[in-house]
Amino acid sequence: MIGLKTFPLGGVHPEEGKFTAQKAIEILPIPERVYIPLSQSLGAPSVPIINKGDRVKTGQLIAKGEAFISANIHSSVTGTVEKIDEWIDASGYRKKTIIIKTEPDEWEEGILLNHQLNPTITLTKEEIIQRVKEKGIVGMGGATFPTHVKLSIPQGKKAEYLIINGVECEPYLTSDHRLMLEKGEEILIGIQILMKAIEVNKAIIGIEANKMDAIEHLSQLAQKYKGIEVQGLKLKYPQGAEKQLIKALVNREVPSGKLPIEVGCVVQNVGTAFAVYEAIQFNKPLIDRVVTISGKKFNGGNFLVRIGTPIQALIDQCGGLPENTEKIINGGPMMGKALVSTEVPVTKGTSGILIFTNEMSHRMPVYSCIRCGKCVSVCPMGLEPILLEKLVENKNWEMAESEHIIDCIECGSCHYTCPAGRPLLDMIRLGKNKVNQIIRSRGK
């Protein structure tokens, strides 16, 4: 194998905790009710096209993404729409949600259920993008950007590389890892489809070195597929951040405030490539995904979960919550969100659920900043968190903007490393919000 690559600036190395790496993906039984939020992707919420009392089939379109940045939503189950009401989601807020009482599966017509490997791509570029849009595919790495928007290359720009993100640098999470091991061939065909859609002949799959088996497996499979290369990456967080991944793989730096296409790259997650494969070859909408449930002293696993399943169902499958559970996290420990309730449903962006018990749940005591500069040295964007924290504290928005607070990718490396336990990212997020508001109020 070729040498491991990485991004040059900053980064940390949190304890990996990949306890569920050896656990094969299991299918989670369909819960009694699913709760499908209308806002599951970046951009505008989708608009429901069904009513209370309607009977829906598995895979049926139930909400349309009407705005440019928005995505269709399909029913993940067969059943009756009980109500369209507010329900708590991972953000902690109550959002419009379609609640469906489930029955045994009855699939929407046109969805192929015979999942035999199908490597023949018959659709044209335009048809692929259209299908991806119809089937509600969004980025499955966590940011949930609608995939069809990413595939529509803006006028005057040209993609050279398709970058496939198999890094999974967040500790504990293993859903992408398992998918690469178990659905390697499908992912590669999905990549071929994506390559056709954006008209590139080179794709690079980046995988972190703690998944050697996946690197080897996909490298071997990739020999059959033209133009797909697998590249091992050093263990360093946030290796899976889009800009850092591009830098590591093709040594190009996305300019501040710009998108990857600026340097000829389109980045997609391995989970997305798999979803694209299913959408194109089997007409299957994005109605399920692999979710890792894990934690120290928690017997977790990797499950294929229908969208809208309350995480309580996942927890029950693993024997319930340990008594001393104090924190539940949606996503990884570095970027995930602490949840208020186990009624929160799995959505298209849910890569993992973490169960933290007492000693891990609380933050460190906060000391005075000792100006050690560790936050500066670990920032992968080359920002100065120590300075940004002070600027936000002093409400100096103007200078926060000129110090590029907007460039922060919220990876959390600064707070992770701070020996004084200062809530650096909290402050920077606050400042980003405020500065973004100011920028918007200027009317571009």
């Binding site: 600036l9 304890e15 902690g92 800009k243 850092q244 730096e253 300019p255 501040s256 405030g257 559970t325 104090e326 924190k327 539940i328 996290i329 996503g331 420990p333 570095m334 970027m335 995930g336 969100k337 602490a338 208020v340 309730s341 973490l354 933290f356 891990m360 749940s361 609380h362 933050r363 460190m364 005591p365 000391y367 005075s368 900043c369 000792i370 100006r371 050690c372 500069g373 500066v376 040295s377 992968p380 964007m381 080359g382 920002l383 100065e384 120590i386 300075l387 590029h404 460039d407 959390g412 490396s413 707070h415 992770y416 490393t417 701070c418 020996p419 004084a420 809530p423 990212l425 997020r429």
Partner: protein, 329 residues
């Protein structure tokens, strides 16, 4: 309603915290302390003990009774470091009451008037040392000769330091080759078998502490390396120009407080810049100033002054020298 803990990401944290860093520095200072006790005997131990105890006590009194703070930080180890470093910067024969006054200035003036740990612009131990040097010039420059494992507190033989020998000799017009005969061998200087300030004498012990701190990621290489290299190169150039007038670079590295300063004082996080680029410039500045003061200044030693001056420059460095930004121009 649920009772789960809610907080923003990240939800995991590095194991290192302020206390561990500070106590790590204390451990790193132990080799130098042991060497000083070996060569200067009991007085070295007593002087260090007075400094450490008075620094900690002053910090406690000031926080508890003047600031009326319920949160007393003496356990974080930073006052212990100040005490140790302060003691390391003085002769072992320094009268106890002068040591206590130095500690009061270090903790009370240099640290606490600015609000305590993390807020002081100058290294407290260096402020204390310079204060004592100005207030008690005789006691602060009366250097006991080494007497391994001595327990005597009274019969102290004194002599000048290597830097003093060279400085005064050159001012009297003697040539360097004559003067170097009166200077201890480089091996003795490296090990610490020389007169001088308590904790400065052994380059070896200090370097060991430095390696420990590098390993524990308490310091990075940037400041010590740029500082020491600058002194080496600058004095090297002078020496090449006129070896009869300027001492050789190895001498400058081993003599005086350079090693202690470069590894333990200039690297003080609170008073040095926060990014690597600025840290390197900080180290170079310390190096240049040290040589300027040693060679042309009024004092034989320049490390304390050099670092204090660069402490004053630190905010400007932080403001003007920016780290490389990802995606920036």
């Amino acid at each position: 309603m649920s009772t789960y803990v809610l907080s923003g990401s990240p939800h995991v944290h590095d194991k290192q915290d302020v206390n561990k860093i500070m106590w790590g520095v204390v451990y790193a200072l132990i080799p130098a302390l042991l060497v000083s006790i070996y060569f200067f005997g009991l007085p070295a131990f007593i002087t260090t003990l007075i400094a450490v105890v008075s620094c900690v006590v002053f910090e406690y009194i000031i926080q508890r009774y003047i600031f009326k703070s319920s949160d007393v930080t003496i356990k974080d180890g930073s006052a212990v470091i100040t005490g140790l470093l302060l003691a390391f910067n003085v002769p072992s024969s320094l009268p106890w009451w002068q040591m206590i006054i130095g500690s009061l200035v270090a903790i009370g003036v240099a640290k606490m008037t600015f609000g305590g740990l993390g807020k002081n612009p100058f290294n407290p131990a260096l402020v204390g040392r310079v204060f004592m040097l100005i207030s008690f010039p005789v006691e602060m420059t009366t250097w006991p000769k080494v007497a391994p494992l001595s327990t005597s507190l009274t019969d102290i033989v004194t002599g000048p330091t290597s830097l003093g020998i060279v400085k005064e000799g050159l001012m009297k017009g003697e040539t360097l080759s004559q003067l170097m005969n009166n200077v201890p061998s480089y091996t003795d200087m490296f090990i610490g078998n020389i007169g001088g300030s308590l904790g400065e004498i052994s380059a070896l012990a200090i370097i060991l502490g430095g390696i420990y701190m590098l390993y524990k990621k308490i310091i990075t290489w940037h400041i010590p390396t740029s500082y020491i290299l600058t002194v080496f190169i600058f004095t090297g150039i002078l020496w090449l120009i006129n070896p009869e007038k300027y001492a050789d670079p190895i001498f400058h590295l081993l003599a005086g407080g350079l090693m202690l300063g470069a590894i333990f004082m200039a690297t003080d996080m609170v008073t040095s810049p926060v990014n690597y680029k600025a840290q390197i410039i900080f180290g170079i500045g310390c190096g240049i100033l040290t040589v300027l003061i040693r060679v042309w200044g009024a004092y034989p030693e320049g490390v304390s002054f050099a670092i204090l001056i660069m402490n004053a420059v630190t905010p400007i460095l932080n403001k003007t020298i920016k780290p490389k930004r990802f995606g920036g121009k």
